[in-house]
Amino acid sequence: MDFSETADRISRKFQKSGQTIDPKKIEGKLRRLIEEFGVQPSEAERSVTNDLAKEFNIPQMAPGGGGGKSGGITEPRKIADVSPEEWVTIEGKVVALSAPGSPAIAQSGIIADDSGGIRFVAWAKSNAPAMTVGSWYHIESAVVDEFKGIASLKIHSGTTVKESGNDGALIPSTVPVVNLHTGVGSVRAKVIQEWEVTHDRMLQSGILGDETGTIKFVIWKEAGKEKLAVDSVYNIFYAQVDEFNGRLSLNLNTATIMQDDGDILVSWGIVAVRGALVHIAPGSGIIKRCPVEGCNRALSRQNYCPVHEIQPRFIYDLRIKGWLDDGEKTHNILLQRDVVESLTGITLEAAKEIAENNPLGMDEVFLQMRDRVLGRYITCDGREIDNRLLVNTCDRLTFESSEHAALLNRAGGAL
């Protein structure tokens, strides 16, 4: 596919604002979104434009945004294009209202147009008319501010709110999970994991995913809220996207959720790491697991499970926990039984044999495995969850003479 035309178009647009951007760089970004993540070309153009605009601090760049910065604050702006510190006028539909967290707030929720949604807060002092979900409003001279990196529209005493004649249906467009950013977002995604509820007020939490990646979600207890079904696909419109500890999370309480019949092949965000195994942690080798259904915890040497106490009828398993180091970063990795067997050449059967007959028992398995893999170069494919790489496949690196030749050229080239 040829992206140069689109890249040139974007590049020209930035040239007008006095920024020179290499079309090759733009093309690369487009290619990545379209080919790697299956994003629609028009959406990719928008996304790349916005991205670059943000990078160079240029407001209002996206195509179809009305163009020009001279619009003034009375011309309605597209919601997706407003940015913090601006006075804006918008026309949008209230798609969600949430319980105000303070008496100073009359109403809060999400307002959206066809470009996207934004959180809003109407101050009690603003004396703005109460808005209802599903109606369109013309909001003049509101202020966009930013709290914890999330843009929000503030309706204050100088803002005029009028119900607008518009009653058109609003079909929100969903974005790939990897493209979500803090604020408000819509996705089509599948529930791939449900977690234990950790809080009285929490109804459900877990992981949603699509072809591009995964994200945590949470639903708080509220009248009318229902749990999502694991393995089902949903269209989720106008969820709040928050960030905790550098990770995004979706709060679905504001969202309109519709189940979808289709299926999604979820990408776990496969990463490949190549490096040297610099540490094999205790607890690697052969271990015993709790046989109670659904437990599977590793037992202590005395066959003690932290939940189910002594379990003499344990199940043997293999695993390796360790650090894989590429010289720049060290990755915490976890290898499961089949990967351990193929990497070490020691099968579960063989390990059991050693554990039961060798005087050192399970320690002997640890030592034999360590001696076979510590300090070796390997490459691992897996998914990274909570800073740990769960390895799907793992291979030893082999010496490539082409790599050798390339390095000789590189080192010798400037001698």
Binding site: E196, T330, R370, L408, R410
Partner: protein, 200 residues
């Protein structure tokens, strides 16, 4: 998995382990400057490489050519690990019992992979510091692993030399101050020679 375990996992995961840098013996030998990050007693100590990178930990693969047991009360082992450019001096004492036992078992000569912490030590204030590597782990490996390490280390060294030329990161500036007499271009030659020693 219980939520509790998951949260603990996250905390554990947020800890960033210091990466093991790849460096040839003849570059490491030139180190004269070390520093501590932070004022805490447990703050990590870094040795600054002449090519402008700090290292708290290194990964080396070479030939263990000799090892020696020393001390009566406090037993420790010393060893020499040779790469295509020079010699690393390694040691493991009773504070690293596992590393010491691993080293004790290995008969020289052997290809070994060593993960350890570099440190500078001086006989007295006036003398030139020596760089030695306190072993965290040592293991016998094959020749393939040694060759892979030479490729890896040559690539990393060339990366550092490239960055050194143009970068203004504090560590590079510091290296220029601390090692005014060293032209990193010599390490390009060193990398080339190391690569050339591998038979094609």
């Amino acid at each position: 998995m219980s939520t509790n375990a998951r949260e603990m996992g996250r905390k554990e995961g947020s800890f960033e382990r210091e990466p093991a840098r790849r460096v040839f013996a003849s570059e490491l030998r030139e180190c004269r400057y070390d520093f501590k990050e932070g004022t805490d007693e447990k703050s990590p100590t870094f040795v600054l490489l002449p090519t402008g990178e700090r290292c708290n930990r290194i990964f080396i693969v070479g030939t263990l050519t000799e090892k020696q047991r020393q001390g009566d009360q406090n037993i420790f082992y010393r060893g020499r690990v040779v790469d295509p450019t020079g010699t690393f001096f390694i040691m493991a004492g009773s504070y690293q019992p596992e590393a010491m036992q691993q080293l004790a078992r290995i008969e020289a000569p052997a290809f070994v992979a060593v993960i350890g912490k570099p440190s500078l030590y001086r006989k007295d204030e006036a003398s030139t510091p020596m760089v030695s590597v306190r072993v965290e782990s040592i293991n016998v490996v094959d020749k393939d692993t040694r060759d892979l390490w030479v490729l890896d280390t040559a690539a990393r060294t060339l990366d550092r030399i490239d960055i050194f030329k143009t970068s203004t990161v504090p560590d590079v500036i510091k290296a220029k101050e601390q090692y005014p007499a060293i032209d990193p271009a010599i390490f390009r030659r060193m990398a080339y020679d190391a690569l050339a020693q591998i038979k094609i």
